[in-house]
C-alpha cells in the first residue's frame, strides 16, 4: 500500500519518544501483546515500532523495545497502527421509538429480501411519520407515500426534524433516561465497533428544552458489561430543535388546544423555559411553592437540583452563534458548568467560549458543509470550525453523531485532517478529550499502563482512506477481528 506521509506526520515521527512508559511486563495466562509500526497513545504521542502489553484486561506496558512475555498472545499487523478505542461523546443511537424493525408478517421473507437493506439505515426514521412506505424508501427519491424528500442514508442532525424519540408530554424531562430507549442489540453498535469506536455517550434527542440524561455505553463485549453509566449528563437544547423536532409544538391558534400546544414555539421561549425550570427548581429546593405556566414536574426538579449542585453534569446543544451565546448567558445566570454540543458555528464565537472555558463536542462535519442543504441551523457550517477551536485552545472532542455508515467517527477524523487539524489534535479529540469530558478518563481514552485495554489495531495508519480497524479489543478481550477477512 502506497502511503505518502504528510509533513505533520513526519514531524510526529521525528518527535516520537522511543519509549513512553516502561513497566516490567508481567507474564500471565491472559497476556496479549500488540505489535505495530505506530502506537498512537491518544495523548498525541506516537511510539514507532511499539508494543502494547495487556494483562488481565488492563494495559501493563506501552513502548518500543519491550520484550514479549512468555506465553503471550501476539497480535502483529505488519505496517499497521494502534490507537486507543475511539470515544464518541455525542452519539445519536438508533431512535428506538422510530426504529423500523421489519414486522414479521406472512410476506416477511420477501419483505426482508427487498427492504431490509434500507431499514438498517436511519432513513426510515427520517420520514418520521412512520408512513407505511417507510421501509421502501429508495435513496435519492422522495417517499412515495408521504413525500418526505430524498432520504439519503446520512442525514445531518437537524435535518431529520420530524422524527423524535423524546417524551412529548413536557419540555423539561431531565428525569428521563436515554438508556430506556437504547436498544443495546441495535446493529448501530456493531457498526460503531467495526469503525473502531469502543465507548459512546448516547445522547438525548433534542426535542425538548431540558431533555433526557444520556448514557455511557460500550459498543461491544458481554451484554451485562455494556452499560458504563446509566444516567449521565442532562442535555439542554438551545435553538429551534425543541419546538421543531418531533411533533412540533403548536400555538393554540385558531385550533383546539391540544397536547402540543405549549411553549416554546420560539427561541425566546426556549431560554425562558430553561430559566423557569431552574428558577422553580431553586424554589422547590427551598420548600417554596412553585407554579404557573411551564412549571416542571417534581421528578424533573429532583434531577435539576442535582444539576444545579453539579452532581449531574450539563451539556447544552447549540449550533448557531446566537444559540451558543444564549447558552453562555444562561450558564452565567445560574452559575452552571457545561459542555457545548455540536457547536456548528463555534468558529464565530471562539473568544467567548474560551473566556467561559467551555469545552466543545464538535461535529459532525461534512466535506461540503450541510449548510448547502436544507436545514437553517446548519447554514453557518464551515470547514475550518474544528481547526478554529483547536487553534483557540478550546478543549474539543469530535463526534460523528448519527453518522455510522462504514467509518463514522474515523471519517470525522479524516475530515478534520483534510481540513487542516494536526494529527495529534485529531487523535486527542476522539480519545483522550472525550474520555475526559465524559469523566471516564481514569479507565479509557489513552494507552497507558493501568488503563482498561480498549485498543484498536488498524490495517494502516489511523484515519486514512485506505485503512480500517482490523482488531478491536474491549477490556482486553477481542471483540472484532477482521484479520482473516
Amino acid at each position: 500500500m502506497n502511503n505518502p506521509h504528510n509533513s505533520h506526520r513526519l514531524a510526529l515521527r521525528v518527535a516520537a519518544i522511543a519509549t513512553l512508559f516502561v513497566v516490567a511486563p508481567q507474564t500471565s495466562a491472559e497476556t496479549i501483546v500488540i505489535k505495530s509500526a505506530q502506537v498512537h497513545t491518544g495523548t498525541g504521542a506516537v511510539v514507532q515500532d511499539g508494543m502494547v502489553v495487556i494483562t488481565d484486561g488492563s494495559i501493563t506496558a506501552v513502548g518500543a523495545n519491550l520484550s514479549v512475555p512468555a506465553g503471550a498472545t501476539v497480535i502483529d499487523v505488519q505496517g499497521g497502527s494502534v490507537t486507543p478505542g475511539l470515544i464518541d461523546a455525542n452519539a445519536a443511537i438508533e431512535a428506538s421509538d422510530l426504529m423500523i424493525t421489519p414486522k414479521r408478517t406472512a410476506s416477511s421473507v420477501l419483505h426482508d429480501v427487498f427492504c431490509v437493506k434500507h431499514s438498517d439505515k436511519p432513513i426510515a426514521g427520517c420520514c418520521g411519520s412512520m408512513c407505511s412506505r417507510a421501509l421502501q424508501h429508495v435513496d435519492g427519491e422522495d417517499c412515495r407515500e408521504c413525500g418526505f424528500p430524498n432520504t439519503a442514508p446520512n442525514l445531518a442532525v437537524g435535518v431529520r426534524r420530524h422524527g423524535s424519540l423524546a417524551e412529548q408530554s413536557s419540555e423539561v424531562i431531565p428525569h428521563t433516561r436515554v438508556i430506556d430507549s437504547v436498544n443495546l442489540r441495535s446493529p448501530d453498535f456493531e457498526r460503531l465497533l467495526s469503525g473502531g469506536v469502543t465507548t459512546v455517550f448516547v445522547s438525548a434527542d433534542p426535542a425538548a428544552v431540558l431533555t433526557s440524561q444520556g448514557a455511557i455505553v460500550r459498543t461491544g463485549g458481554p451484554m451485562a458489561d455494556r452499560i458504563v453509566r446509566e444516567a449521565d449528563a442532562v442535555k439542554a437544547v438551545m435553538g429551534s430543535d425543541p419546538f421543531l423536532r418531533g411533533p412540533r409544538n403548536t400555538r393554540p391558534f385558531r385550533q383546539y388546544v391540544d397536547f402540543h400546544a405549549r411553549r416554546p414555539t420560539t427561541r425566546m421561549g426556549v431560554t425562558w423555559v430553561f430559566r423557569k425550570a431552574l428558577y422553580d427548581t431553586q424554589r422547590h429546593g427551598q420548600g417554596l411553592p412553585v407554579g404557573g405556566a411551564d412549571t416542571p414536574s417534581v421528578p424533573a426538579m429532583k434531577t435539576l437540583s442535582k444539576m444545579l449542585t453539579g452532581e449531574v453534569p450539563l451539556r447544552i446543544q447549540a449550533r448557531m452563534q446566537r444559540d451558543i451565546l444564549s447558552a453562555l448567558r444562561l450558564a452565567k445566570e445560574f452559575d452552571l458548568r457545561f459542555v457545548l454540543e455540536e457547536g456548528t458555528e463555534a468558529h464565530r464565537c471562539t473568544d467567548e467560549l474560551r473566556a467561559a472555558d467551555v469545552p466543545v463536542i464538535y461535529g459532525p462535519m461534512y466535506i461540503t458543509p450541510a449548510g448547502y442543504r436544507n436545514s437553517t441551523e446548519l447554514d453557518g457550517a464551515r470547514l475550518h470550525t474544528m481547526r478554529a477551536l483547536v487553534d483557540a485552545g478550546i478543549e474539543t472532542a469530535l463526534t460523528a453523531n448519527d453518522l455510522r455508515d462504514e467509518d463514522g467517527l474515523a471519517r470525522q477524523a479524516m475530515y478534520a485532517l483534510r481540513h487542516g487539524v494536526p494529527l495529534d489534535a485529531v487523535m486527542r479529540s476522539i480519545t483522550q478529550t472525550p474520555a475526559k469530558l465524559l469523566r471516564v478518563d481514569d479507565r479509557v481514552g489513552t494507552l497507558e499502563p493501568g488503563k482498561q485495554a480498549d485498543v484498536v489495531v488498524w490495517s494502516d495508519g489511523p484515519f486514512e482512506a485506505t485503512s480500517k480497524p482490523l482488531v478491536v479489543l474491549i477490556n482486553g478481550r477481542i471483540v472484532l477481528d477482521k484479520r482473516t477477512g
Binding site: L165, I173, T176, R177, L184, M223
Partner: protein, 386 residues
C-alpha cells in the same frame, strides 16, 4: 349487574346439570393422559370425588365398573388455560385516562353469559385469564375464570391478580403522558419509588412488597430489557408477555422473570419468532402459551403449541405451557391446571395428543361434570362410553 349475571349463570348451570347428571362419572379410565410433568402416560384411572380429582391410580388398580367413563385410545388432558384472553369482556378492558391505573379490575368487565365461552369450552379451554388492555403502564389487575360452570361452583378462580404492566409502544399516547419509552420508564420508576415509600395505590404497594405478582406486556426485545431493569427489582416477581424474538435474552429471562408468555403463533410467521419458545424453554424459562381468544380463534392455543414444537420446543414443555404453567402464572395452580389429586376435575379428552392438530376434542369436564360431548359418528369415535 355482575352479581345479577352471575346468579343468572348459576340458574342456567343448575338446569343443565340436572339433565347431565348421567355425565358425572366417578372415575375416568384413560388410555393415555397428560401427566403434570407434561409427558403422556398410559392406562390410568382418574378417580373423581365431588368435582375434584381424588387420586390417579393405575388402570388395573381401580376395579369399580359402575359410573365410569373409559377412553382406551384417547388422551385425557387437564383443561387448557388461555392467559391472554378477553372472552366476555373484550370491549370493556381499555381504560385510557391515566397511564398508571392500578385500581382497575378486569373482573368488573366480565360478562359470564357471553357466547364466546361456549366456543372456548368446545376447543378444550376450561379457564381464561382476562387482563386489562396494555395501553397503560399499569392497567389494573387480571382475573381468571372458568369458561363453564357446574352447580355450586364459583366460576371465578381469581379476581385480584396479577397486576398488569406494559412498557412498550402500546402505552404511548398522543394526548397524555407518556409518549415515549424514556417517558414510560421514568413514570414507572417514579410510581414504583412512591410505592416503595408507602405511598400510592395499595396494589402498587403490594407489588412493590412482593405480595402481588406482576405481568408485563413487552413489545420489543428492548422492552423486555427495560422491564427486567425497572420492574424485576432483583427478584423474579414478574412474568413477561413477549411474542417477538429476544433470543439472546433467554438467560436474563430465566434469572429475572417467573415466566414468559408467548403467542399466539400463526402459520407464516418468521421462523425466528416461532423458534423463540423453544429457545426460552431450553434456557430454563417457564414458557406459557397465549391463545389470544376471542380475537384469535379458539384453536390458536393448540396451534401455537404445535408450531412451537415444530420449531424446536420440547413436547412435554409445550403441554405444560398450555396447562399447568398458565395456572401457575395466573396464581390458580392450587385449583386447576393439572391432573393431580386435590385439583378441580377440569379435563379435556382429546382423540390424540393435543399437540397434534388433527386431534379433536371429544369430551370436556368441568368439576367432573361433562359439559361438552362431541357429536361424532361411531366410526370416528375413539372414546367409548359404556
Amino acid at each position: 349487574m355482575i352479581r345479577l349475571s352471575r346468579s343468572l349463570l348459576i340458574l342456567l348451570s343448575v338446569a343443565s346439570c340436572a339433565s347431565a347428571s348421567a355425565q358425572k362419572p366417578d372415575a375416568i379410565m384413560a388410555g393415555r393422559y397428560v401427566a403434570p410433568d407434561g409427558t403422556i402416560k398410559t392406562d390410568t384411572a382418574i378417580v373423581l370425588d365431588r368435582g375434584k380429582i381424588h387420586v390417579t391410580v393405575a388402570r388395573d388398580v381401580y376395579t369399580k365398573t359402575d359410573n365410569i367413563v373409559a377412553y382406551p385410545n384417547a388422551v385425557v388432558c387437564p383443561g387448557l388455560i388461555d392467559v391472554r384472553s378477553r372472552i366476555g369482556a373484550h370491549d370493556n378492558l381499555t381504560e385510557t385516562a391515566h397511564a398508571i391505573d392500578p385500581a382497575a379490575s378486569a373482573i368488573d368487565s366480565l360478562d359470564l353469559t357471553h357466547r364466546d365461552f361456549r366456543a372456548a369450552v368446545e376447543a378444550g379451554i376450561t379457564a381464561v385469564m382476562l387482563s386489562p388492555t396494555e395501553n397503560n403502564l399499569v392497567s389494573g389487575v387480571a382475573a381468571t375464570v372458568k369458561t363453564a360452570r357446574v352447580s355450586g361452583d364459583d366460576p371465578v378462580l381469581r379476581g385480584d391478580g396479577p397486576l398488569m404492566f406494559a412498557v412498550g409502544s402500546t402505552v404511548f399516547s398522543e394526548d397524555r403522558a407518556p409518549t415515549s419509552r424514556i417517558g414510560s420508564a421514568a413514570m414507572l420508576r417514579e410510581a414504583l419509588d412512591e410505592a416503595k415509600a408507602g405511598r400510592g395505590h395499595e396494589r402498587m404497594r403490594l407489588f412493590s412488597a412482593g405480595s402481588l405478582e406482576g405481568l408485563v406486556v413487552c413489545e420489543d426485545p428492548m422492552d423486555v430489557s427495560a422491564a427486567l431493569r425497572t420492574l424485576a427489582n432483583g427478584r423474579p416477581s414478574i412474568a413477561i408477555v413477549h411474542t417477538s424474538d429476544a433470543h439472546d435474552l433467554a438467560p436474563e429471562l430465566a434469572r429475572g422473570s417467573r415466566a414468559v408468555v408467548v403467542g399466539p403463533y400463526a402459520f407464516g410467521m418468521s421462523p425466528r419468532t416461532l423458534s423463540t419458545a423453544g429457545v426460552y424453554a431450553a434456557a430454563g424459562v417457564p414458557v406459557v402459551f397465549a391463545g389470544g381468544t376471542p380475537e384469535a380463534s379458539v384453536g390458536s392455543l393448540r396451534t401455537t403449541a404445535a408450531l412451537a414444537v415444530r420449531y424446536g420446543m420440547d413436547s412435554a414443555k409445550a403441554r405444560r405451557a398450555m396447562t399447568v404453567l398458565p395456572a401457575t402464572l395466573a396464581g390458580v395452580s392450587e385449583r386447576v391446571g393439572a391432573i393431580h389429586p386435590g385439583l378441580d376435575a377440569d379435563l379435556v379428552v382429546f382423540s390424540d395428543d393435543p399437540l397434534r392438530l388433527d386431534a379433536r376434542v371429544l369430551d370436556v369436564y368441568i368439576k367432573g361434570v361433562r359439559v361438552y360431548h362431541a357429536d361424532v359418528r361411531a366410526d370416528q369415535t375413539t372414546g367409548e362410553t359404556p
